[in-house]
C-alpha cells in the first residue's frame, strides 16, 4: 500500500510518529496524523481545511489540547462526567503521562490509525486516483470517525460531508 503514497503523504505518516513521540504517546493516533497533515501548510489537504476555515496553527493547538486529555478513548464528555464526581481527568492524565515519559519507546501505530490509512486507500480508489495523497489521508481520517479528529473539525464547523465535497472540488480543480 505504501508504494502508492505520494512523497508528501509519506512525509505526513513519518511526521505523525514524531508528533506522537513529542506528545509522549505510546500510540500514533489519528489526531497525530491530522496534526502532521496540518504541519505541511502547502499540501492539498491543509489548503482545503484552511479554505473551510480551519487555521492550521490554531487547529494543531486545538488537536493537542483535546489529544492530551485522551488516555485513548476518553473525551470531553467523559471529562465533564468525571468532574461531577470530583475527578479531574486532566490531572489524572498528567500524572500517569509524566511517569510514562521517563521510559519512552518509539510509538507504534494505533488500530484506529491503521484503519484510517486503509480508508485513505479506499478513498483514492473511489475517486479513481492511482496514488494516495494527503487529501486521501484526510478523508480516510474523517471516515475512520476518530472522536478527537471529528470534534476538532466540528469546532470550526467542518462536517465530514462538507469536507468530502470540498476535497472532491479541490481535486477537480487541481487536475
Amino acid at each position: 500500500m505504501f508504494e502508492r503514497f505520494t512523497k508528501r503523504a509519506r512525509a505526513v505518516v513519518g511526521g505523525a510518529f514524531e508528533v506522537a513521540e513529542g506528545a509522549g504517546a505510546a500510540d500514533v493516533r489519528p489526531e497525530h496524523l491530522l496534526t502532521a497533515i496540518l504541519r505541511d501548510e502547502d499540501c492539498l489537504a491543509t489548503r482545503v481545511l484552511s479554505d473551510l476555515g480551519a487555521d492550521p496553527a490554531s487547529t494543531r493547538a486545538d488537536l493537542e489540547r483535546r489529544g492530551s486529555r485522551y488516555l485513548d478513548g476518553l473525551d470531553d464528555e467523559d471529562a465533564e462526567a468525571l468532574a461531577t464526581i470530583g475527578i479531574d481527568l486532566d490531572a489524572v492524565v498528567r500524572r500517569v503521562g509524566d511517569e510514562g515519559r521517563s521510559r519512552r519507546r518509539r510509538p507504534k501505530i494505533s488500530r484506529a490509525s491503521k484503519k484510517a490509512l486503509e480508508l485513505a486507500l479506499r478513498e483514492a480508489v473511489a475517486l479513481r486516483h492511482n496514488y494516495i495523497g494527503t487529501e486521501h489521508l484526510l478523508l480516510g481520517l474523517v471516515r475512520g470517525g476518530d472522536k478527537v479528529v471529528l470534534d476538532t473539525l466540528a469546532a470550526v464547523e467542518i462536517t465530514p460531508a462538507g469536507l468530502r465535497a470540498a476535497v472532491a472540488d479541490a481535486v477537480r480543480r487541481a487536475s
Binding site: A26, L71, D72, G73, L74, E77, D78, A79, A81, L82, A83, T84, I85, G86, I87, L89, V92, V96, E99, G100, R103, R105
Partner: protein, 69 residues
C-alpha cells in the same frame, strides 16, 4: 458562594443520568489506566503472574485481556 463544582455535585446527586454517565466515564478511565499500567509493568519486565497478583486476578485473565497490547 456557588461554584461550578457545587452545581455539578448537586446535579449529579439529583440526576441519575449524570450519575450514570459518570460511572460509564469512570469505567473507561479504569480500563485505560489498567492498560497503561499493565503495559508499563511489562516494559519493566514484570511477569503476567506478578501483574495478576497485584490486580488480584489470575495470570491467565491478565494475559488474555492484555496479551495483545
Amino acid at each position: 458562594m456557588t461554584t461550578e463544582s457545587d452545581l455539578a455535585t448537586a446535579a449529579s446527586a439529583s440526576d441519575p443520568r449524570v450519575g450514570l454517565r459518570a460511572v460509564r466515564a469512570l469505567r473507561r478511565l479504569l480500563e485505560e489506566l489498567e492498560r497503561v499500567q499493565v503495559r508499563r509493568a511489562r516494559q519493566r519486565g514484570w511477569s503476567w503472574a506478578e501483574i495478576g497478583e497485584v490486580l488480584e486476578v489470575s495470570r491467565q485473565a491478565v494475559h488474555k485481556k492484555h496479551g495483545r497490547d
